[in-house]
Symmetry: C2
Amino acid sequence: MMAPASPRREILVSLLGLGVVGSGIASVLQSKKSLFASLVGCPLVLRRALVRDPGKPRLIPNSFITTNPEDILGDRATDIVVEVMGEEHPALEYVQQAISAEKHVVTANKEIMAKHGPDLLKLASQKEVQLLFEASVGAGIPIIAPLQRDLLGNNIASIRAIINGTTNYILTKMANEGQDFATALRQAQELGYAEANPANDVEGHDAAYKLAILATLAFRTKVYPSDIHCEGITRLAPKDFRYAQEFGYAIKLLAIGRKSNGAVQVTVYPALVPRDEIIAKVDGVFNAIEIKGDLSGPVLFHGMGAGSLPTTSAVLGDVISIARNIAAGARPAPWLGMDHGLNIKPVTQLQTRCYLRLLVADRPGVLAQIAHILGDRQISIASVIQKDADPKEGTAEIVIMTHPSLEAAIQDALVRLNELAVVKKVASFLRVEST
Amino acid sequence: MMAPASPRREILVSLLGLGVVGSGIASVLQSKKSLFASLVGCPLVLRRALVRDPGKPRLIPNSFITTNPEDILGDRATDIVVEVMGEEHPALEYVQQAISAEKHVVTANKEIMAKHGPDLLKLASQKEVQLLFEASVGAGIPIIAPLQRDLLGNNIASIRAIINGTTNYILTKMANEGQDFATALRQAQELGYAEANPANDVEGHDAAYKLAILATLAFRTKVYPSDIHCEGITRLAPKDFRYAQEFGYAIKLLAIGRKSNGAVQVTVYPALVPRDEIIAKVDGVFNAIEIKGDLSGPVLFHGMGAGSLPTTSAVLGDVISIARNIAAGARPAPWLGMDHGLNIKPVTQLQTRCYLRLLVADRPGVLAQIAHILGDRQISIASVIQKDADPKEGTAEIVIMTHPSLEAAIQDALVRLNELAVVKKVASFLRVEST
């Protein structure tokens, strides 16, 4: 479909969803209408908004509101459909329908982009419309467009990202104030940084959605959430933060994607990060994404990874970009493709240093037994510190940092360590991130 | 000029300049040709390269090389001209000529974009070609494109940037190792981070060029290097870093642009930055640019701001972007314009906290005299520390931090303080950056 060359009188935007983000977009379209008209070359106008509950009091006039998706998806006049409903269904079906009807789509939906992004992008390419999704990762941080444009000359070697504000807030509290996980979570919930059911965040699933999107673009191969080895932060103890600090590390929930030898490794887990790295200094609800290209070197994008206004910023950037193309009669550039077909490398093949905290019987010979199990599996010890002996219980804590070792060997060692009579508990196991 | 809809057999790139960056681009066009062909939809091929000295041994065959600019500027086949010569002349004339001949241009030249960017962009818009310049600021860090696309929904309130790697390296050395300026500069020169004639970097002019480019885009008004109040880092002493650290600050050469009340204030000077801000943690040759939008909040871009490979990354991102548009038969989106026509606010109207280090006579009543001069000018003192008394010389050092005050009043006070008999010297005056 070649866009018309005749000048446009206006460009019409319809919203699927009118929650906090949708309302924000509607309101900014109104308050910045003269700015946007000057950017686009013609007015950018709200056409309709789909809501679930038409009775709810709202700032925008009732005439804009509909409860029938067909009023938008079947509306010939709507140029750009903005999907800000969230969740997989029915958002996915609506987006598919909008693209099939040759409408440009902007979505903030990480779940549908993570699970169905490659198919949706292919459909959009076939229909010669744009599907943009800057808001799906890192909210107000420009990352999707830079990956698809500025960094295209690079072979991307790795992604390392802090892309969940809830968990980063909790980890920052645990690190700075010595809080335990439950306390920090409760505080995050009171401040509205964590949901009543926090599982999606604290188990790492939200970060995995975003990593799937980033990895798919960076490595131009299909990476789905189910490909990602995902561990959350619920098992971290205040002690781990203290010890990590003594060793010179912060603890961050990292989403990591690495390409090597024709395969991609994608993981989400809490990791020790050297404290002098800038990614270790990303605190509170901030997000950061580091992309390492063979030419660019490491490039880091830092900002507010959540919230209504930052999400609105990203959505509007996409909307204006599409509107400028429509107004200019420009066709979208060709599909980048995701056809590199790289394999997903299982986490068992990860090479990683690790941090182990063991609760052991406080008596001679214990370390020898532990070292034996590790040594047998080619896991070499970089340092050991004995901590916090408890004479009453007859226990002590041993903290071990290893040299880079094979994940499969480490997991096997953990099982064997747990079976040792002198080991009361493998209290903590964390990987150490090194560049 | 509407681009042809018929598929392209290839897209031809010619280089003005074949130094380190030009050679890098030529080499990557060759080594990644199949990747780039898949991104663009047809091969992206080197056509010609302009050099000064044809006798110099080079990796690319002689058949590509010319010493006559007309072979490129007058070449009908060349689609994209890449200018990597540097300096103002004759690069400016070549770029003008290329655009006038309806060629797309990619330039890494901060000087011509800072001094002539608005005119060149207007010319490109009239000729319906693209002029891209991602490499002109922050090398491999995507910042120009995000400002012109992702952040367009925002009113940008401020830019704060560390955009000169040479000075940031020197400041990091002075802070971490207590070196004086001359020693740190010499070391930077030995490592190739500073030029034999370092004035352009250490006096802040390079940063001012880049700030002019960023401010023009962010505020969509014409900002030229001559509008920028510019101070370098040559007068900093190791002591200032020690005292700044005691107060909780780092010292960074900041390029700052702020918009308020229809005016823009643009400055380059070394400033005290609170150490817990992420921009204070940007060390060594790294660069960082923080953009604050009304919707996005603060967004920070961090990476390698200089070097052949990062610059090549940025240039190639631009080249591929243009090539994808050519191959798709897409016209460039309309010109964004720089027509906000904001006034430039003189530095005398700056409201800033400041740090003063005074060498004074070590006797009673001195502070009263100093406080009197400051108080008379509505400069209120936040804290005072007396340092390093020298009984032999009969001198002491006083370090003063003020509350926010008017720059004009501060400058007036500095003159008067220097006239006081009890003040041997105003040894240091630095502004304090606060968000």
